[in-house]
Amino acid sequence: MKTIREITRYPAAIIGGILIILLIVIAIYSLITIPYAEAVRLWRGGEDIWYDLPRTAAPAWTNLFRDKKLPETIILNSQDESVEKTVEEVSGSRTKVSFSLTFDYTYDGFPDEVILFFHTKYDEKKPHVNMTWITPEGEEIRVGSMSAENSSAYIFSQDEVLFRRLGRNLRPDEALFAVDSAAEAPEVLKGTYTLQVDGSIFEPDTELDAKLVVYGDVYGIAGTDHRRRDLTVALLWGTPVALMFGLLAAVLTSVTTMVIAAIGTWYGGWVDGLIQRITEINMILPVLPILIMIGTFYSRSIWVMLGALILLYIFGSAIKSYRAIFLQVKESGYIEAAQAYGANNVRIIARYLIPRIIPTLIPGLITLIPGFVFTEAALNVLGLGDPTLPTWGKVINDAYVNGALHQGQYYWILEPSILLMVTGLAFSLFGFALDRIFNPRLRGM
């Protein structure tokens, strides 16, 4: 109770604590809303899951800071209630189905891509489709004419005929939105656009539906990556992964290190000497290169990495500082008393030595967490991350490898980096504040 009251006196501890709680809430939220299997499926899925989303789109809120608004993605589906479908029988075997997909386009930039996805059902004869593009000024442009196979798509930018008809200045999907497609710097004509789809059906039970996707340059809260994946999946799921990795590594290394230091100090002699020498050797082992080798040759599983990292850190430099404290504690009167009444070595180590330094252990443990979180991210950035899990480091790696820095897609790198930064700061703020509370010697400084 006293400790908690003391913690509230340190603003750094309060900020750190709030941030930690926030991160834990995000972690729990992600685990509940996106179960593990779903997260893996989404993250490893390709175009089949994410085909509706634009490629490398910045977050939608970035438009707030732009003079020229980038287009958002517009999705219109003829299966929706709002789209009216007219069915007209032309002759005994031929039926005409038509619907129009209407949308407002009020952005300053051209869309990234325009694609019409067909969803049809037929026995033998494919329905035939004619498409007409109606601009806000009422101009009607014939865009495409094709037989609609199921799950086929009409990609506007790849229509060579349309390209020639619209003039060769712009891609067809851009020319359709331009005020004057022949101009030097074409501008976007804002207003209501309509894509009129007229289909001819040759079998009675044929269904014809289509989905128009006008891909924008911004998307959602977090934006998307080069494989159209929504970054929120990785940003959310990165939180529990980072917290779990950092916490487990910190707790396991600190506790083992402390026990080893206690044993060494208590028995002294050659045991202590051996532990000291192992520590000295271990301290200068190149940890990251060794982890890199394990990742390259054995396994990139997060558990293997965690295990290897813990093994390499058990005999870390922390042993020296624990040893210094234990040497003092060892001389205390109550230890002598315990020996006098006949407590054995194990009892003295477990019941009298270790509990004494737990207060110093906790701040140290918390300040260790950021280091481990960043090590895990570093492995991911080097391309040695767990192959299945979506993590922050992996997003940075994707962004870096795909040239986000050079193409100005800063959101892609900044989002995971800021989350990493927040995690690192939260734990070190909290840890340093605790250190001052538990180690009063530093308090004055």
Partner: protein, 382 residues
């Protein structure tokens, strides 16, 4: 205190030693020798671990044996040679076995892995690193040693610049802060300590975005402009320009914590009785600082710096990759991508040596400045 003063100047140390007997030199030498043994062990352990991991504890040998048998079987069974075609299948099998034995013997695979592993260890320790599978040095050689040695100077420039800057800046700022305890700058540095939890490569990303991406005043990465200037001076200036961002990344990531640590040491030592005594005697502030505060704090500062340098070395791979700095770390990253085992193992060996060399260098300075080592109060303590 002034009687046992130590100067970093080696000649005076030697002269003093001659005056007071050879024991000082002997002690420093003994200490250095002891550290050398420990460091050598560390290098051996690191390299042996590398050998074990790279060979998957002997599993790679099994794969190689399988490959040899496969290749030889294919040669004999698919051969168009009429002599071979005449042989019965039993004879062919015998021939395969015989050739496999010869080939395995030639490649040393007839020995158990544990013996071979020591041969690998010896090769690695003597920097006999073999040939790369895919990578090539700029001079066109496939020798791993040449590939890596070529990468060594850029790495040393970057890490030398970063660490030296960090050491002296932290030392003097720490001293200044301990003198101005409680000032705004002092409080600011204390508040900034948590920023040191993020590694250099991480700040590197931000620096690239700000200075290369948005402001476009400094290059994204690399060692020199492309094409490199032919003039020596311009070349050096170009390198310097490319050095700014990665060095700043190292500096920013560690400056707060190192300054804070120095400051704490200075504050602790400036409260010692002998400092009060000196003040009472009327010794000038500058002399107190140099003789009574800086000198006794140097050994723990060097130890602290040592740990920092080790930590910074660990991050080399990734910082160099982020900045496309053609050093050892980037070579390691490229080797991972190409799955070039000899280069990966070779980089680890060089890293182990570099770490040990850095530690030994700092240890040696430690031995020179620590009166306990010099006077021999406590022969070996770090």
């Amino acid at each position: 205190m002034s009687d046992v003063s130590v100067t970093l100047d080696e000649e005076t140390t030697l002269e003093e030693a001659r005056g007071t007997g050879t024991s000082t030199v002997a002690r420093v030498a003994k200490y250095a020798a002891f550290r050398l043994v420990i460091l050598f062990f560390a290098v051996v352990v690191a390299i042996y671990l590398t050998v074990l991991i790279a060979n998957m504890g002997g599993y790679v040998d099994e794969i190689r044996r399988g490959e040899i048998r496969n290749a030889i079987s294919l040669q004999i069974y698919m051969s168009e040679d009429p002599e071979l075609k005449k042989l019965s299948s039993a004879e062919k099998k015998e021939l395969v076995d015989r050739r496999v034995t010869i080939e395995e013997k030639r490649r040393g695979l007839d020995q158990p892995f544990i013996i071979r592993s020591f041969a690998f260890l010896k090769n690695a320790l003597t920097l006999n690193l073999g040939f790369a599978e895919d990578m090539m040095s700029d001079s066109g050689s496939k020798q791993v040693r040449l590939i890596l040695l070529e990468r060594l100077p850029p790495t040393l420039i970057l890490w030398g610049a970063g660490n030296i800057l960090l050491f002296f800046f932290a030392l003097f700022t720490g001293l200044y802060l301990s003198r101005n305890y409680g000032s705004f700058l002092d409080k600011l540095i204390v508040a900034l300590v948590p920023t040191s939890s993020a590694p250099a490569w991480f700040y590197g990303l931000f620096l690239i975005i700000i200075f290369a991406g948005i402001l476009q005043v400094l290059p994204f990465g690399g060692l020199v402009d492309a094409p490199p200037p032919s003039n020596k001076l311009l070349y050096a200036l170009s390198v310097l320009k490319h050095l700014i961002l990665p060095t700043s990344a190292i500096f920013i990531s560690s400056i707060a914590i190192s300054t804070f640590n120095r400051r704490v040491f200075f504050l602790i030592y400036s409260q010692e009785d002998y400092v009060e005594m000196a003040k009472a005697k009327g010794v000038s502030d500058r002399t107190i600082e140099r003789r009574y505060i800086l000198r006794p704090t140097l050994p723990p500062i060097i130890t602290g710096f040592l740990l920092l340098v080790i930590a910074i070395w660990m991050g080399a791979t990734i910082l160099e990759t982020v900045f496309n700095w053609p050093g050892l770390g980037q070579a390691l990253f490229k080797a991972i991508g190409l799955f070039d085992t000899p280069v990966i193992v070779g980089s680890n060996v060089i890293y182990a040596y570099l770490l040990a060399a850095t530690v030994f260098f700092l240890d040696f300075i430690y031995a020179l400045v620590d009166p306990r080592v010099r006077i021999g109060e406590q022969g070996r303590k770090v």
